[in-house]
């Protein structure tokens, strides 16, 4: 599938801001199965300085500074992305989950011990008993890892209620686990905490999801949102497998990957420090428009 994506973020400040510094992670990743031939970042007011680089997870980041009094900041990212369908894997043919766990805990430098970076606690996700207890039924002894993952995915999808009013960015993950409500970010982080608590390496993926209009209705421009899901390292042969607990599916060509990291704090699309006082209002609009083949 090919998409034209527009991601517009607008901050409105109550009193003028004179100086601000931002880091944006808005350019879709160039990875096997996904190409991004074209990307443009438009910032208003125009930054006095900016610089781009790849971060330690290979995500494209752009640093920028704005100087001079302003009441409004608008950051618009436009991208053209091509996504191939993911390969199909027989869940029951995948290795037993314990072999992955053991490979990650082994010594030496292997794909598994490198992936093990994602086995541990990170700023927003602290694995522990609470999550392990929930995850364990999906991973009985010898269970093929992908089958276990899909089972856990289904359970989270069933047990948790999608509820935008239940959480905000500051809600601790343990509260989400207890209340069983939240948004895609919470679903993804619960999934990751469960997997890590079983000793498995799991990472956080941020991006977009093409939303299909209800049957018979026209697609609404700007109605989409940024999305988040998880990925699990499933051994040398399979590598990382994406999993979307908010929708109970394994992502394919409708998921567009922008960045990944240990949790949301590694990948926030726009993070900034502003100098200036007063309230601020945030509006985000995302539009994922499929581009028809000729």
């Amino acid at each position: 599938m090919r998409y034209q994506i527009t991601h517009r973020t607008k901050y409105t400040y109550e009193s003028p801001v004179t100086v601000c510094h931002y880091v944006a992670r808005l350019e879709p990743k160039k990875i096997p199965g996904q190409a991004c031939p074209w990307h443009e970042l438009h910032i208003q007011p125009e930054p006095v300085d900016s610089a781009s680089r790849a971060d330690s997870f290979g995500n494209h980041t752009t640093y920028f500074e704005i100087e001079g009094s302003h009441h409004e900041l608008v950051v618009t990212a436009r991208s053209f992305v091509e996504v191939k369908p993911s390969r199909s894997v027989q869940p029951d043919s995948t290795p037993a989950w314990e072999t992955i766990r053991n490979a990650c805990a082994a010594s030496g430098y292997t794909a598994a011990t490198v992936a093990a970076e994602f086995c541990f606690a990170s700023p927003l996700i602290t694995p522990g008993q609470l999550f392990a207890d929930y995850a364990r039924p999906s991973f009985p002894s010898g269970k093929p890892i992908l089958a276990g993952l899909m089972d856990l995915n289904r359970r989270i999808f069933t047990d948790f209620k999608f509820d935008p009013t239940a959480t905000d960015v500051a809600t601790p993950l343990a509260d989400v686990m207890k209340n069983r409500r939240g948004v895609c970010q919470d679903f993804a982080q619960v999934m990751i905490a469960c997997l890590r608590s079983m000793g498995l390496p799991a990472r956080y993926v941020s991006g977009y999801l093409e939303t299909l209009p209800p049957p018979g209705k026209a697609r609404l421009v700007g109605a989409d949102a940024s999305h988040a899901w998880a990925a699990l390292f499933c051994g040398d042969a399979l590598g990382w497998m994406d999993v979307d607990p908010t929708n109970n599916l394994l992502p394919s060509e409708r998921h567009i990957t922008v960045a990944w990291g240990r949790d949301f704090s590694d990948v926030s699309p726009l993070r900034g420090v502003t100098l200036g006082a007063g309230e601020q209002r945030l509006q985000v609009a995302v539009d994922v428009m499929p581009v028809d083949d000729e």
Partner: protein
């Protein structure tokens, strides 16, 4: 060591154990001073023979000198979980720790090797990670490590190094120096090391010289040179700042001390801003480029944009500026990873791999439980081990599994099993001991020697000295200042004549001769302004309380009691008398004002505010001024709440004199640059406000009783002037004239306005001021308002004065408050920061 030409070191008088004050090392433990035979080790002979000739009273008097000097220098260590308060005096032992020249040389080689190694490891971990890829460091040790700062990955510091300054804790275990811990974040203690040296060289002047102790000054000159050389492409006129978390930090004392010693401005996060990916210092006159930033802030708190989310600390964009090569940071960001204790077991292999050498200073034997074999070994025999956190150092004390009861040990073992990678195990160490003065005798105490090193062209040079700490308990090897440890001066002996570069008496060379005197950070100007306001407010409070006390202590005549009533009105005006206070209870109220630290309007809180603002501008105040603040605090605490009226009066007199000495120093000893100007502005505004308020209240009180005028003149320190002019009982109109309009009276409002006008004219230009009236215009308006009052014409018409004086005073008060606000907006205001 060669015998020296002093009286203390003839070999014939070699002391025996019995005559070194009865010192007895513990059997089987390596003692730094004494051999198992009871003889002194050769490098202790000079000092040991002095000790053997010392009497206990002599030592006691030297100990007293140490205490006095520590107090006068204001050497403190802030401990926030301490029930006693926020700061405790630094603890310095009477007996130095002495290291032989040859041994120090060997240690220095080991430290140089270690620092080079740590720097190479950092370049690798934040670069190609070959150490991980080739199996020298387990991936999880980095991946799980919270000190590994991922945003630093890919940074190659433009100045070529991550580690410029290093601290390294050494212990002697089984006769050999070993590394207990590396400190590359913010190596604490150099300021205290200097302070210890200055005091010991003072108290033991003769013995110090006779011992041929290597001087520290050269080391700090090397450090200054090194930091200068780091300026990106602008060698020669580098602008260097030292970034501190602020006065609330544990070790703020030493940040200020060291910044002043090295001649760098001490700045806080809010003083700095990143523009065009370059770090700048906000000064009263605008932004100034910073080339080198010496951080006293943990790396994870240095940049809220990319590192932690704590918006109150750090400089947004600092990491990007460093990444771009526009600023040098000492030490580089991300160096915390190298202090990870779990790295110890891998050091010998890494050293062979990277340097092709054996480690010259081995680490304390350490096992990381993140590996299966090591974990099994620890779990097999838990009671053998001391358990420490593998990654976040210093967060919790080590756990001696052998000392726990079976149940607690089982809990600890379960905790290790749950997350083995978070723990390391070490065997109990047999630390060497060194003689330490405990109450009235010498005791052997376990010793940790913190060495320091600074990068030079191709290697690292070790400080010939360091901060030695001994345990407060005889058997503990938890030796930290936080847990009440005792520090010692470290004497590294020389085998040749000592090059004398004295630390004392000479002013440190200021790196930046071109630094204009106006380069005052806005924040510092803010604190100086409030230092002026609070010290003036304190003086008024003390004067009015003293006036009231005088009238409480007399015979209680009718006049006295009327004047006392007047004092109470004045106290109310200054806002220090709680509403509804009664004259009968005044003595108790005054006691509370003087001694209750919780009373918001009381003297202790005012002194606290003076002290806070002085601390925050510590690097702008002379040593004498600083000593004065220490004395002020001490003088105000001399006696407890149960004291008598004469006692309290004595104390108030002393405090008034201390404050007078401060304002004298301000006039005579401070460079009259912008910093001084803001101190003056604060003081003058506060005085004008207070006098206007007091005159207003007194005038209103005069409607019923003019007895208030006598204490009013007293409080405004104008009694003598009045008597000289009028030879009569005070009357309202001449009193008001003297205090409001007589510009020759240094306490009058008119005098304050004239001074303010002169200062306002000299304030730095501010581009943003066009909209509002400038400070100078504001002062002119006040002068005009004051001139509307024609007091001489009212001398026969008291009623007119009674009506008009309060009105004019009100106008003045309003205008002066507006002036203060306008100065704040123009020169200090730091917009509030927020993080998303």
């Amino acid at each position: 060591m060669e015998s020296t030409a002093t009286q203390h070191s003839s070999i014939s008088s070699l002391p025996t154990p019995a005559n070194i004050l009865g010192y007895k090392p513990k059997a089987g433990v390596f003692d730094e001073m004494m051999l198992p035979s009871g003889d002194l080790r050769p490098h202790w002979r000079t000092f040991g023979s002095f000790l053997s000739q010392c009497s206990a009273p002599d030592l006691q008097s030297r100990l007293d000198s140490i205490q006095n000097l520590l107090r006068d220098h204001g050497v403190i260590y802030n401990v926030y979980d301490d029930a006693l308060g926020t700061s405790r005096p630094w603890s310095l032992d009477l007996i130095p720790f002495i290291v032989a020249a040859e041994e120090a040389r060997q240690v220095a080689e080991g430290i140089d090797q270690r620092a080079r190694l740590l720097d190479l490891i950092l370049h690798d971990l934040y670069g190609p990670q070959t150490l991980v890829k080739e199996g020298w460091i387990p991936p999880a040790l980095i991946g799980a490590n919270p000190s590994f700062l991922r945003p630093v990955v890919g940074v190659a510091p433009a100045d070529g190094r991550f580690v410029h300054l290093m601290g390294c804790d050494l212990v002697r275990d089984q006769g050999r120096w070993r590394v207990l811990a590396d400190r590359t974040q913010v190596p604490f203690g150099q300021g205290y090391t200097l302070e210890n040296r200055i005091i010991m060289a003072n108290v033991f002047a003769e013995e110090f010289n006779a011992s041929r102790v290597q001087r520290l000054a050269e080391y700090f000159e090397t450090e200054r040179e090194t930091l200068r050389s780091l300026a990106p492409g602008r060698r020669g006129n580098a602008s260097i700042v030292m970034l501190t978390p602020g006065p609330n930090d544990d070790t703020y004392f030493e940040h200020a001390f060291k910044a002043r010693y090295l001649g760098f401005p001490l700045v806080e996060s809010a003083d700095l801003t990143v523009r065009d990916r370059r770090v700048h210092l906000k000064t009263l006159e605008g932004l100034r480029r910073v080339d080198v930033l010496v951080r006293r802030l943990d790396d994870s708190r240095c940049d809220p944009l990319e590192l932690s989310g704590d918006a109150t600390m750090g400089v947004p964009g600092l990491l990007e500026s460093w990444r771009s090569g526009n600023v040098s940071v000492a030490n580089g960001l991300g160096t915390g990873i190298i202090t990870t204790p779990a790295l110890h077991p891998f050091m010998p292999g890494i050293c062979r791999h990277l340097l092709g050498e054996e480690l010259k200073l081995p680490c304390v034997p350490t096992w990381w439980c993140g590996q299966k074999r090591e974990l099994d070994m620890v779990l097999a025999e838990p009671e053998r081990w001391v358990i420490k956190e593998a990654f976040v150092r210093g967060a919790r004390d080590p756990v001696f599994l052998g000392k726990l009861d079976a149940k607690s040990r089982a809990v600890a073992v379960e905790r290790i099993k749950a997350a083995p990678h978070l723990w390391i195990a070490q065997e109990t160490l047999a630390l060497s001991t060194t003689p330490t003065w405990v109450r009235d005798h010498l005791e052997p105490r376990p010793v940790v020697w913190r060495t320091y090193a600074v990068s030079t062209g191709d290697g690292y040079s070790m400080m010939p000295g360091g901060l030695t700490r001994v345990s407060p308990q005889p058997d503990s090897w938890v030796v930290t200042m936080r847990s009440g440890g005792i520090s010692k001066d470290t004497w590294v002996l020389s085998d040749g004549p000592v090059v004398r570069k004295t630390l004392l008496g000479t002013q440190p060379v200021v790196i930046q001769p071109a630094r204009p005197p106006s380069a005052v950070p806005s924040r510092v100007a803010d604190h100086l302004f409030w230092l002026g306001r609070y010290s003036e407010r304190l003086e008024q409070a003390v004067r009015v309380i003293r006036a009231a006390l005088h009238r409480l202590s007399g015979e209680g005549t009718a006049v006295q009691s009327r004047e006392l009533q007047g004092c109470m009105s004045l106290m109310s005006e200054l806002g220090i008398l709680p509403p509804g206070s009664l004259m009968v209870a005044l003595r108790g109220t005054i006691q509370a004002l003087l001694f209750d630290p919780k009373l918001a309007t009381g003297v202790p809180q005012l002194i606290g505010s003076v002290r806070f603002n002085a601390s925050a501008a510590r690097d702008r105040l002379s040593d004498d001024t600083w000593r004065l603040f220490n004395r002020l605090e001490r003088d105000s605490r001399l006696v407890g709440p149960s004291m008598t009226v004469p006692g309290m009066l004595g104390m108030l007199d002393t405090v008034v004199l201390d404050l007078a000495a401060f304002s004298g120093m301000q006039q005579e000893n401070m460079t009259q640059g912008h910093g001084w100007r803001f101190l003056e502005l604060g003081r003058r505004i506060e005085r004008a406000l207070n006098v206007a308020g007091l005159v207003k209240t007194a005038t209103e009180t005069c409607v019923t009783d003019d007895a208030v005028l006598t204490p009013l003149l007293e409080v405004c320190d104008s009694t003598m002037t009045y008597r000289r002019l009028h030879f009569a009982r005070p009357q309202l109109v001449p009193t008001a004239y003297l205090l409001l309009q007589d510009a020759a009276n240094p306490r009058s409002v008119a005098h304050q306005l004239e001074t303010l006008f002169a200062h306002a004219k000299a304030l730095p230009a501010d581009p943003g001021r066009a909209i509002q009236p400038s400070e100078r215009e504001r002062v002119s308006e006040s002068m005009a308002a004051l001139a509307t009052l024609d007091l001489p014409a009212m001398s026969a018409k008291q009623a007119m004065a009674l009506a008009q004086v309060p009105k004019v005073c009100d106008t003045l008060i309003q205008q002066l408050e507006a002036l203060s606000l306008s100065i704040t907006e123009h020169y200090f205001s730091h917009a509030i920061r927020r993080v998303r």
